[in-house]
């Protein structure tokens, strides 16, 4: 059977991409691993710093807190709009589709900037609040954790919608008819049948959102304004602003390990369910 693997045609077709990624991604990744063990001096110093440095720890704690909040908010919001996208009238579906796909295709920078335009001191909300005399001082809505959570939730809702919507589409209509036939009302059908049966999609969406959020960089950097730094931004700062490449590399490797473990959980969880759509 080994002969089949060595078929010249197969080798010719598979090799370019494998060689490219091996050289341009695999080997440099090992280089980053090496940095984490050798800079500034050989040893496990950077990983020890990771466990003891209060600054690094506070960044990790903040990252997990923000990710948990964002996951909760994004999944709940995604469920509401996915429900209308899947089960609404044709007009409602089209409207929902626009609301999901337009933000999805717009770049992360434009979307973060939109929140700046809305939430900053000279932004729409504060201008309006002052013009109507509700407030004299601008409300601090951005350059803090609130802004980061809002911006990240906005970015991640579409990603949560897709698995939830596919779970909703896969639901057998007859189950709902059966529930109604046995006398359940609309609300009861929704909470006792529809929600539990689409739970695999919800949990899949939550894992995807959480994993994405962990490595998030652009939105927190813009909306956090350097005050609520998350792990990925800390990597950037350690590489470019207060050069400590070893620590930046060690944080990256730790992030890969965490994301790898969560992805494995996601994969194991999704495999048996009907998430293929």
């Amino acid at each position: 059977m080994a002969a089949r693997f060595l078929h010249p045609g197969a080798a010719l077709l598979l090799a370019p991409l494998l060689v490219l990624l091996g050289l341009a991604y695999g080997i440099p990744f090992l280089g980053v691993v090496k940095w984490s063990f050798t800079l500034p001096e050989p040893g496990l110093g950077q990983y020890r710093a990771l466990l003891t440095d209060p600054l690094v720890q506070s960044v990790f704690v903040r990252t997990f807190r923000i990710c948990a909040l964002v996951t909760l908010a994004a999944v709940a919001a995604a469920y509401a709009i996915a429900y209308v996208w899947v089960r609404g009238t044709p007009g409602q579906r089209l409207a929902a589709e626009y609301c999901i796909l337009v933000p999805f295709w717009i770049s992360v920078l434009t979307r973060a900037f939109g929140w700046v335009a809305l939430l900053s001191n000279q932004g729409l909300i504060n201008t309006w609040l002052r013009a109507t005399g509700v407030l004299s001082e601008p409300l601090a809505l951005v350059r803090n954790e609130f802004g980061v959570v809002v911006g990240m939730t906005h970015f991640l809702i579409p990603f949560a919608v897709f698995p939830i919507a596919s779970a909703m589409r896969a639901l057998d209509e007859r189950v709902l008819l059966a529930a109604r036939g046995m006398g359940a009302g609309r609300t009861r059908i929704f909470w006792a049948v529809f929600v539990p049966m689409t739970m695999p999609g919800v949990i899949g969406a939550a894992l995807i959102v959480f994993v994405f959020a962990l490595g998030f960089f652009i939105t927190p950097a813009i909306l956090g304004g350097g005050r609520s730094v998350m792990v990925a931004e800390l990597v950037y700062l350690r590489i470019f602003q207060s050069p400590d490449w070893g620590l930046g590399a060690a944080i990256s490797i730790t992030l890969v390990v965490i994301v790898g473990a969560l992805s494995a959980a996601l994969f194991r969880y999704l495999r048996p369910s009907q998430m293929a759509g």
């Binding site: 197969a10 598979l14 991604y25 609301c99």
Partner: protein, 268 residues
Amino acid sequence: MNGYRPGPVALLCALLVAVFLLMPLLAVVPVSFTPSRMLSMPTGALSLRHYRTLVDDPRWLDSILLSLRVGIVSSTLATLFALAFGLGIWMFRPRFTAALVGFVLLPMIVPPVVSAITLYFLLTSLSGIGGFAGYDTWPGVVLAHIVVTVPFAVVLILVALSQVDRRIDLAARGLGASTWERATKIIIPNIKFGILTAWLLSFVLSWEEIGVTLFITSVNAITLPRLMWMGLRDNIDPAIAAISVILILITVTVLTARIVWRRARGPA
């Protein structure tokens, strides 16, 4: 099917989410018409000066042209790499297929910041040995963009291939077609739509790419997202609002065209 539609409470919740999703995109519009040099809401007069800046200031035009060049070159190369790989997997079903595909998809799964530091390592090393594609050069950006977009192209091409009927390939083989003829005359014509989609997605991803680009460029290779990032960090430049409005309009137009086109082809 029609018996069970969302009720008023569900519609209200979805409406709130819809408002939340669209609000920041709409907020950009008034800011782009402000006459002020700083980020602000226009009070009274409207101005097109920030749209003029996009045309007059060579930095914006240069970065748009650079992003187009990087996007076209990197998406074309990424699509070719992905196509060859997909054909290899589909036609030969090699051993370890799962491991090979898994390896190729890594840059898509690994957090972007880790890919960024990895590619930073690669390009600074290449600069060190005087390579053609190095840190802060446009070929370097192309190389990095190929690495991060190629997994998406691979996924789309593998999906397209999975819908090809293997019997037509078998028939071609039975009639004596060579590997090359099977690929170019039978398989590729059957997945041309998938190839086009892969190219388009790679282009959009490269056009928008910022996380990795930020790590591998500094002053020479300024792509459009990189220029926007610079204007967002320090004093916020309202020209960003103008370019954002244009990008949003393009997105809405393309999506609408796609929906209309899908309708015209028949109900899905």
